[in-house]
């Protein structure tokens, strides 16, 4: 019974870790302009961090061939010709970590030309690590419960 209760408690904790709302950020949103240089097959800088609610303007500068920049989760994109600067503006209204990637075929490694923008905090990573921790702990009562059930079945 104790094992069963432990599993229920862990499951409830898992739900809380996965879905509980986090406190809203205290930093006021601001306008940010970020310059990103694109070359085959990398962005520089390739990791960006902004606050939730910021109005983000990306200045994409292509240094070799035509490159693009598509932001996963925001579904916005921009393309820049070689030597030219293209501008993309969006409001970072969803927290988390999002990949941005080239959306114009630019050479062999094009599908892997990827960068990362983190809006506020990478909540999902922290939640996932929390879930993984609970999962490992939960294996102990789960195993005992399964062994008990197997023993009972054998006894019958």
């Amino acid at each position: 019974m104790i094992r069963f209760i432990s599993l229920v408690v862990l499951f409830a904790a898992g739900l809380a870790v996965a879905f509980a709302p986090l406190p809203a950020p205290s930093i006021a949103p601001q306008a940010r302009t970020l310059r990103i240089d694109a070359r085959q097959f990398a962005y520089s800088p390739s990791e960006l961090k902004v606050n939730l609610g910021d109005t983000v303007t990306v200045q994409l500068v292509s240094t070799d061939v035509v490159h693009g920049l598509y932001v996963d989760g925001y579904d916005v994109s921009v393309e820049a010709d070689p030597g030219q600067t293209a501008t993309l503006t969006f409001v970072a209204d969803r927290s988390g970590s999002f990949r941005f990637r080239c959306n114009v075929t630019c050479g062999a490694m094009h599908p892997f030309m990827i960068g990362k923008i983190t809006v506020e905090k990478n909540d999902l990573l922290f939640r996932s690590v929390g879930l993984a921790t609970l999962a490992v702990i939960g294996v102990f009562p789960l195993s005992s419960l399964l062994v008990e059930r197997k023993d009972r079945a054998l006894a019958k």
Partner: protein
């Protein structure tokens, strides 16, 4: 454990016994395979618009790792076209066996090589060049052609499917992960096999000898001794050949084979190779670090040599080394006492324990690949429609989908799905580790901590 015999259903059984449905699939697969080679050689050099890259590394890979391996084990091997031409030549027949066989060398595979080390090496060779292989149609075509011709060559020299069993870089990991699949081919009654004359399931039965004509197991496996999926290619030859109707295809619980894991080092290292490769690929291909991508892509440069050394170091030194440390800690009396296991003496130490416990990494490795592939496949799936209409990148528009704009699909579901896969794999592996630890009377905690740490790294790389 509960099993449901699928071959009790007469429709399923006759569909599996009949050679024609399998042949029809084989022919489609072989045509697709040959076309992929041609597309790679004569089509556009732009990988994302060439059939060879899009259909092999996006469409096929997605089906293989997200569906075929987790649910059907070696199901892919049952329809794989690579061994076909060689096997047809070896047999001198396409369908039923003939009384008169062609006179090829028909040698036994060397005893020293009857393991999966060559498959491990073959996979690692491809893995080290994967950035080029995955993105360059010509290289993909050359590798596909090389596999086809190697399989043909080996069929002329050695008996059965030597390529599939001992050399195929894909077959090695499919075999490893097939142990987790809920599908198996097994005998129904052991005694029937013991008393069976001539063992036609292994030696074959030609038309003049038996109504159940068929070939001896192409995978060099005696079905009577099958206890794991690893080396059974699900070709269904034994189902056709068995004169006693003693072969069954069963549905079973997931990872049933891992209850009694193998103690072979070649298979243990396959688990580390696959686990490590998934983590490295997640970092190099899906990460934001351009320098890593450059190092992996520009083969032969000093950066690539360092990349290759680090790649091999992670797989052969760091991951197994930390795992050995975990096992060493698991044998510590203080940890065993912690769990009330101080009464028993820890059974099995050294390489055997290392190999047996490494089986607990198999579900984790499979889920790492599922999580990695989800990202890769959902991001690039749009290319499948484009390539379908314009497979060579020559400006065709066969089905009106050549101009479909690239856009990742299901991006909002991707990260939660990856989390579920990784955490699910962790639970699965931790449970396996605990079972193995109970058997060996040691603590499972260090191995579970190892799995947890690997999962956290993978979460960090993917999310």
């Amino acid at each position: 454990m509960n099993r449901i015999e699928l071959t009790r259903n007469l429709f399923i059984k006759s569909a599996l016994k009949n050679r024609h449905p399998q042949l029809a699939v084989f022919i489609v697969m072989l045509a697709g395979y040959v076309f992929a080679i041609l597309a790679g050689l004569i089509g556009t050099p732009v990988g994302s618009h060439n059939f060879s890259i899009v259909f092999v590394w996006i469409a096929w890979w997605a089906i293989l790792i997200l569906v075929a391996v987790p649910f059907f084990g070696r199901g892919w091997c049952a329809v794989c076209p690579i061994p076909l031409p060689g096997e047809w030549l070896q047999r001198g027949a396409v369908l039923h066996p003939l009384d008169k066989k062609p006179k090829w060398l028909n040698l036994r595979w060397p005893r020293a090589l009857r393991n999966i080390w060559l498959q491990n090496i073959a996979f690692l060779l491809l893995a080290l060049f994967s950035s080029v292989l995955l993105t360059t149609p010509t290289i993909t075509a050359i590798v596909l052609a090389a596999m086809l011709f190697t399989a043909i060559g080996l069929s002329m020299v050695f008996e059965r499917r030597a390529f599939c069993r001992y050399l195929c870089p894909v077959g090695g990991f499919i075999g490893l992960y097939s142990q987790t699949a809920p599908l198996e081919l097994r005998i129904k009654d052991k005694q029937t096999c013991v008393t069976c004359d001539g063992k036609p399931c292994y030696n074959g039965a030609s038309t003049s000898l038996s109504a159940n004509s068929g070939y001896g197991c192409p995978w060099d496996v005696f079905p009577g001794g099958l206890t794991r999926n690893t080396y059974c290619g699900l070709c269904m030859e034994c189902l056709r050949t068995c004169p006693h109707d003693n072969i069954a295809v069963n549905l079973r619980p997931f990872s049933a084979d891992l209850a009694k894991p193998s103690a072979r080092l070649d298979e243990a290292f396959k688990a580390f190779i696959m686990l490590g490769s998934a983590m490295i690929y997640a970092g190099v291909l899906l990460g934001p670090w351009g320098a890593l991508k450059d190092a992996a892509f520009y083969v032969g440069t000093s950066a690539w040599i360092i990349y290759a050394a680090v790649f091999l170091g992670i797989i052969f030194i760091i991951l197994p080394g930390l795992f050995s440390l975990a096992l060493f800690l698991a044998h510590r009396p203080s940890l065993k006492a912690c769990l009330g296991r101080s009464r028993g003496v820890g059974r099995g130490t050294g390489l055997r324990t290392f190999a047996m416990f490494s089986a607990s990494l198999i579900p984790l490795g499979l889920m790492f690949w599922v999580a990695f592939s989800l990202s890769f496949v959902l991001t690039n799936a749009a290319y499948i429609l484009v390539s379908l209409s314009d497979p060579l990148g020559l400006g065709w528009n066969l089905f009106g989908t050549a101009d479909v704009a690239w856009r990742p699909i299901f991006t909002s579901l991707l990260a939660p799905a990856q989390t579920l896969a990784l955490v699910g794999g962790l639970i699965w592996s931790a449970r396996m580790a605990q079972k193995a630890a109970d058997e060996s009377k040691i603590s499972a905690i260090p191995v579970m901590a190892y799995c947890f740490a690997a999962t956290v790294v993978m979460l960090w790389l993917l999310l």
